[in-house]
């Protein structure tokens, strides 16, 4: 079969990975390293994560330290990024904001991925009515516009960290569920499942040892990209006043605060949004690189 795209004889078959075996992680790692943007993304993400973890240690001041005599200051040696409307150090609040925003995003991603993988694996493995109901439910949730419902749910549950994590999970498990379901479905029919069953492993054992590693690749990509999404959603909800509320700093509510001062102190809006942007950009680069590294055929 010839097409103009491959009208010449390719000497070597292109590297084909049908499934990622545990031993091939080395090759994946190498490919990932070559992807400059992904590396940039990973570095930036690690940086922000480090900041988030170390915030209490490296922040110059307390995030709630108000100094009403020193409000709206431009950057100085004392306050590297200036102060806000209550005299609080902007840099400190940004660092703690990283802590809050990333904690929420990571936690929600972890839980949503676990929930999604469980649901998808169960649906794929058990089949029958379970599969139909679960997957239908996932489809329904996916077709709903998320923001309005997120707004109303967070409002009902009250503004807090837990609320955000919960709503993010409620709207975040579906993609991973569908991916896992697809993988498990594909693998269910392969011979080694029969072999594993013959060897006596129970259903759960089967799934964990044999199916999940193969389903892992797209899940990792989805989880990474989902992380970025969740940072944005948390920021949006906090911005609207439905998420993390002051005085706890989150990048989102810092922006809400800054909204009132765009005429006088516009820089207050630049920093928190810039942090969100950089973080999500890094995550997206990383996710894209992972997707390429895990399946070079999928290069878009």
């Amino acid at each position: 079969m010839t097409t103009t795209a491959d009208a010449f004889p390719v000497p070597h078959a292109a590297e084909r990975i049908d499934s990622v075996e545990i031993g091939q992680w080395g090759a994946v790692w190498r490919r990932l390293r070559r992807h400059r943007f992904a590396v940039f993304g990973a570095v930036v993400l690690t940086l922000f994560t480090a900041i988030a973890i170390l915030a209490p240690l490296i922040a110059p001041k307390g995030y709630d330290e108000q100094d009403l005599l020193r409000r709206y200051l431009t950057p100085s040696s004392e306050n590297l990024l200036g102060t806000d409307d209550l005299g609080r150090d902007v840099l400190t609040r940004l660092l703690y904001g990283a802590r809050i925003s990333l904690t929420v995003a990571f936690t929600a991603t972890l839980i949503a991925t676990l929930v999604g993988a469980t649901v998808g694996a169960a649906a794929g493995y058990l089949g029958g009515w379970t599969e139909v109901v679960l997957m239908r439910f996932a489809d329904i949730m996916l077709s709903l516009p998320a923001l309005p419902i997120l707004i109303i749910l967070s409002s009902a549950l009250g503004p807090s960290l837990q609320t955000i994590v919960v709503v993010l999970v409620v709207f975040g498990w579906m993609t991973v569920a569908r991916l896992t379901h697809g993988s498990v479905l594909a693998l269910r029919h392969r011979e080694f499942t029969e072999a594993a069953r013959a060897l006596g492993g129970g259903a759960v054992h089967n799934i964990i040892r044999h199916m999940l590693p193969n389903a892992l690749a797209p899940i990792i990509v989805a989880a990474t990209l989902g992380l970025g999404n969740r940072v944005i959603i948390e920021a949006t909800l906090s911005f609207l006043g439905l998420g993390i509320n002051p005085p706890t700093p989150s990048w989102g509510n810092m922006l809400q605060n800054a909204q009132g001062y765009i005429w006088s102190q516009p820089w207050l809006a630049v920093y928190p949004g810039g942090c969100i942007f950089l973080t999500v950009l890094a995550v997206n680069f990383l996710g894209d690189g992972l997707r390429d590294a895990l399946d070079p055929r999928l290069k878009i």
């Binding site: 079969m1 103009t4 004889p9 000497p11």
Partner: protein
């Protein structure tokens, strides 16, 4: 002057792994009203050759040398626009995969009509009539209704007929068919080949048939060109090729086809080894590593395509009279005759003679 004369065609691909010379100095011609078969394994460059004639080679490929003279004009010197006017109108092409070669969102009739309107100033109604005519010509029943059918509603054989209808809609002088029946069922293959033969005869159409299937060659071609590793290794009229293949590769190909006369315990000829990597063609004869008749010279020098006494062209030192070192006894034809003679004489001596005659 032949209708189509390809001289010394060179088509290369600048890949990330290096330069691939897919077509390396290929020369052949297609006479008016006759059928040329180009045969060879996958990767030998036959498809690229046909695409080069149509100038359908896209990056990273480039036609870098030679000439393609059609009706007195060198196609390689034409502008894109001028070449476009020739494609589909004077030279047409059909491809291997009828399943994917038709646009799924347009009706088959519309696609045939498009072939007409691209080259001629006719209104839609007239184009539709021509399309229906062509559908009937290629054996599609209920042509007027089938005009509005979509490709996915048709079988592989039907789609190939549509492709033929599209190709012949503007009455071209040459039809290039790249593995037209490879993807079809055997019975349908026969039908399509019959159709092609009939249409070619009826329209004094020249055929350039690319295939790896010697059976198709035997059925359809008047002249044959055998390609290997980007080069032509043998060029002969079809009968001569089948009766007495000269080049060791051709002999291997023919020997690998089971016939009704092949005995049950007779082994088919297997050509050992595989096609050379086009990034690293050997300096000498490209078939040498796999050739049963090879001798040291074959590895050192690259044989040229030369004319042998019976008029055909062969690229092999075995037939090169300037190479005095060749032992006539090595010539495959001569060898067989001796073997046959020896068998008639004494079986034991024959086996011994066969053993000593191989290098």
């Amino acid at each position: 002057m032949a209708l189509l004369e390809v001289k010394d065609l060179r088509t290369v691909f600048h890949t990330s792994e290096g330069l691939v010379t897919a077509v390396d100095g290929v020369t052949f011609s297609v006479e008016a009203g006759r059928a040329l078969g180009i045969v060879g394994e996958s990767g030998c460059g036959k498809s690229v050759t046909s695409l080069s004639v149509m100038r359908l080679i896209a990056q990273p490929g480039r036609i870098e040398g030679g000439s393609i003279t059609f009706d007195g004009q060198d196609l390689l010197t034409l502008s894109d626009d001028e070449m476009r006017k020739i494609r589909g109108k004077s030279i047409a092409m059909i491809f291997q995969e009828p399943m994917t070669s038709l646009n799924p969102v347009f009706t088959v009739g519309a696609q045939i009509a498009e072939a007409v309107t691209t080259h001629e100033k006719v209104d839609d109604a007239r184009a539709k009539d021509r399309a229906v005519e062509m559908l009937e010509k290629v054996g599609v029943s209920l042509a007027r209704q089938r005009f509005d059918a979509y490709p996915h509603e048709m079988s592989g054989g039907m789609r190939q007929r549509i492709m033929i209808a599209m190709a012949l809609a503007c009455d071209p002088r040459i039809l290039i068919a790249d593995e037209p029946t490879t993807a079809l069922d055997v019975t349908i293959q026969a039908q399509i080949l019959e159709l092609l033969k009939a249409l070619a005869a009826e329209r004094h159409l020249s055929l350039m048939l690319i295939t790896h299937d010697l059976g198709v060659i035997a059925e359809m071609a008047d002249d044959v060109v055998v390609m290997y590793a980007g080069e032509i290794v043998e060029s002969a009229p079809v009968l001569a090729l089948f009766e007495a293949p000269a080049h060791p590769y051709t002999r291997g190909l023919l020997g690998s086809i089971p016939t009704l006369r092949t005995g049950k315990s007779e082994k088919l000829t297997v050509i050992p080894g595989s096609v050379p990597n086009p990034l690293f063609y050997p300096g000498g004869c490209r078939f040498e590593p796999r050739c049963p008749s090879a001798f040291p010279l074959c590895r050192e020098r690259h044989p040229a395509l030369a004319r042998v006494p019976d008029g055909r062209l062969v690229r092999c030192f075995l037939y090169d009279e300037t190479v005095r070192a060749v032992d006539p006894a090595l010539l495959p034809v001569a060898r067989e005759q001796r073997a046959a003679a020896a068998t008639a004489a004494a079986p034991a001596t024959a086996t011994a003679a066969a053993a000593t005659s191989s290098t």
